[in-house]
């Protein structure tokens, strides 16, 4: 009897540990919401979402988040412009062409790219890629959106290629064999049969990559600058949402001030955006799994 009670107690403890993950999500939402609500008591939510100037650390404070949002968007768009086509090509090659031996070597090496700490990528963007680009583009500022965007693209490439490849390999062999039987080349089979069949899985990968790019912090904090401005020009210094949070955290802004609360308001926006993208990606992936279950 008592041994059964012990079993029960153990199961309860294990359950609580599993529940901690839900607690983490709840904690994130609670912490962000508490400070964000306090922030919006002093700044109107309309001004925050539609204002075009972001100067919370200046004497004349403006709280329009659009410059930060646009900065994040520009860098992420550049990163995706690199990572999506290249990652997809790499995935098709690895899934449809590469001999097993080559695949087994290339895949882990590609994955190293995803394991390099982001501060290292920031260093690379600032001290190698930006000077290299300046040789081609004389108008390029020392801090800009282009260089961190390109480097971020390199960083998230394995995410796109690895998840897309998984989706492509899950496409049943029969579909490929049908195409080959009709005389299709491997490229035709890849583009007209495999990619459409794996489409929702590939989309899930791209969305997850977008979420990663939006939340990436150190590359932009090091190489993109700290000048929030409303521009889509990738050659000039900008500031992203994440880089702003770092900038404020580095100074000593006292707790309870409006400046302190801005990082939670910006963080809330960042969380809502990435969490929405993650949910969408999970939903697409599950749908894809059901198609071929």
């Amino acid at each position: 009897m008592s041994s059964r009670r012990i079993e029960r107690a153990i199961e309860g403890v294990l359950f609580l540990c599993a529940l901690l993950s839900v607690g983490t999500t709840a904690g994130i939402i609670a912490v962000l919401a508490a400070e964000t609500v306090a922030f919006f008591r002093e700044v109107s939510i309309v001004e925050f979402l539609t204002g075009t100037e972001w100067t919370p650390l200046f004497a004349t404070q403006q709280f329009g988040v659009l410059p930060l949002l646009l900065g994040t968007t520009v860098v992420s768009a550049i990163a995706l412009a690199v990572a999506v086509p290249c990652g997809l090509l790499a995935a098709i090659y690895l899934s449809e062409y590469a001999p097993e031996g080559l695949r087994r070597v290339v895949k882990p090496v590609l994955e190293i790219l995803a394991g390099v700490p982001t501060v290292v990528y920031g260093y690379f963007a600032l001290t190698f890629v930006t000077p290299a680009l300046q040789a081609w583009l004389p108008g390029l500022s020392g801090f800009n959106a282009l260089s961190p965007g390109l480097v971020m693209g390199l960083m998230i490439l394995p995410l796109v290629s690895s998840l897309s490849e998984d989706a492509m390999r899950a496409v049943p062999r029969g579909l490929r064999e049908g195409a080959y039987a009709l005389g299709a080349t491997r490229m035709q089979t890849a583009w007209q049969i495999v990619v459409p069949a794996a489409f929702s899985g590939i989309t899930a990968a791209v969305i997850l990559a977008a979420s990663r790019a939006i939340g990436e912090t150190m590359i932009v904090a090091i190489a993109a600058g700290q000048q929030p401005r409303l521009t889509a020009n990738p050659f000039v210094p900008i500031e992203t949402m994440t880089a702003y949070i770092v900038q404020v955290s580095l100074g000593d802004t006292p707790q309870g001030t409006l400046e302190y609360r801005t990082i939670f308001a910006v963080g809330m926006l960042l969380f809502v955006m990435t969490f929405g993208l993650n949910l969408l990606s999970t939903w697409l992936r599950n749908r894809f799994r059901e198609e071929y279950a």
């Binding site: 294990l14 540990c17 599993a18 700490p117 501060v119 290292v120 912090t217 949070i245 770092v246």
Partner: protein, 296 residues
């Protein structure tokens, strides 16, 4: 799709052209792969060229300094090891317990599925958001201050989803016949898990833990957010100490305009990469051993 495919795939005189397009596509894809790997090589080469000369024993054992040539990263190295050790001590038991529940008890219950979905989403939340959570919860609400403990707790939450996911993978490799044999001998569920399942899954669990920690040790943003310092002249000596870690020290050096500090940053990166390489090598060896063990 089927009609367009059928018309364009039919046998025709264009088969040579199609084969050429196929080759061209293959060449492009290979080029992209090579370019990505070249990017990695350029990164390592760049860091090595800038920082190799700065590597020395005194660089590893000195404290930070205003003079770049005398600065070292002893404090950051100790800080990183301290924080990561504490992170492992927190993330391992909780992560394994959560994974055991989901894999061995939870089954297909609704709450278990909700927890699973939640973990998958948490794994993709940006790390800086964990920093804000740590700042609001550990540093302020729980009064830990900007301490090693607050930093480790933040990183433990960050590492938890990865530990849980990899532990579940490891538990799944344990054959169900082992469990059944244990039950047949009269063992309870927990006895089976404790004495049969966990020991068998241990190498896989440790591999996952090391990989999660190797990601956590390179994290910069969440620790900056909770207020880890960028300049401290001492190594942390208790869980309540202020601290800094390698990536933050690197960031601090990168942010300075002088070239000499950039060289320090590059040397710091080499140290960080060497640590990551070591951790990953250990993980690979463990995984290798685990695979050999499970296979009959």
């Amino acid at each position: 799709m089927s009609t367009t495919a059928a018309t364009s795939l039919g046998p025709s005189a264009s088969s040579a052209r199609r084969r050429r397009a196929d080759l061209l596509f293959q060449a492009t894809a290979l080029f992209v792969l090579v370019a990505a790997l070249a990017g990695l090589a350029a990164l390592v080469g760049d860091v090595w060229r800038d920082g190799a000369d700065r590597l020395s024993w005194s660089f590893l054992t000195s404290f930070p300094s205003r003079r770049a040539e005398q600065a070292g990263l002893f404090h950051a190295l100790v800080g990183s090891l301290f924080v990561i050790g504490l992170t492992a001590a927190m993330a391992l038991p909780v992560g394994v317990a959560a994974a055991v529940y989901l894999e061995e008890y939870g089954g297909r219950s609704r709450i278990a599925r909700l927890i699973e979905l939640n973990i998958a989403n948490l794994a993709a939340v940006p790390s800086i958001i964990y920093g804000l959570l740590g700042l609001g919860l550990f540093v302020r609400a729980m009064g830990m201050g900007r301490s090693v403990l607050a930093g480790a707790a933040t990183l433990a939450l960050l590492a938890l989803p990865v530990v849980i996911l990899s532990t579940r993978e490891a538990l799944r490799t344990v054959p169900s016949t082992i469990r059944e044999a244990s039950y047949a001998l009269g063992a309870t569920r927990w006895q089976t898990i404790r004495h049969q399942v966990l020991p068998m899954a241990l190498p896989g669990i440790l591999t996952g833990l090391i990989l999660a920690l190797s990601r956590a040790i390179g994290e910069t943003a969440p620790l900056i957010t909770i207020g880890a310092l960028t300049y401290i002249p001492f190594a942390p000596d208790s869980v309540w100490s202020a601290f800094t870690v390698l990536p933050i020290q690197i960031f601090n050096w990168v942010s300075r305009p002088q070239a000499a500090f950039k060289a320090n940053a590059a040397a710091g990166i080499l140290v960080l990469l060497a640590m990551l390489l070591t951790m990953n090598a250990v993980a690979v060896v463990l995984r290798d051993r685990a695979q050999r063990k499970v296979r009959p």
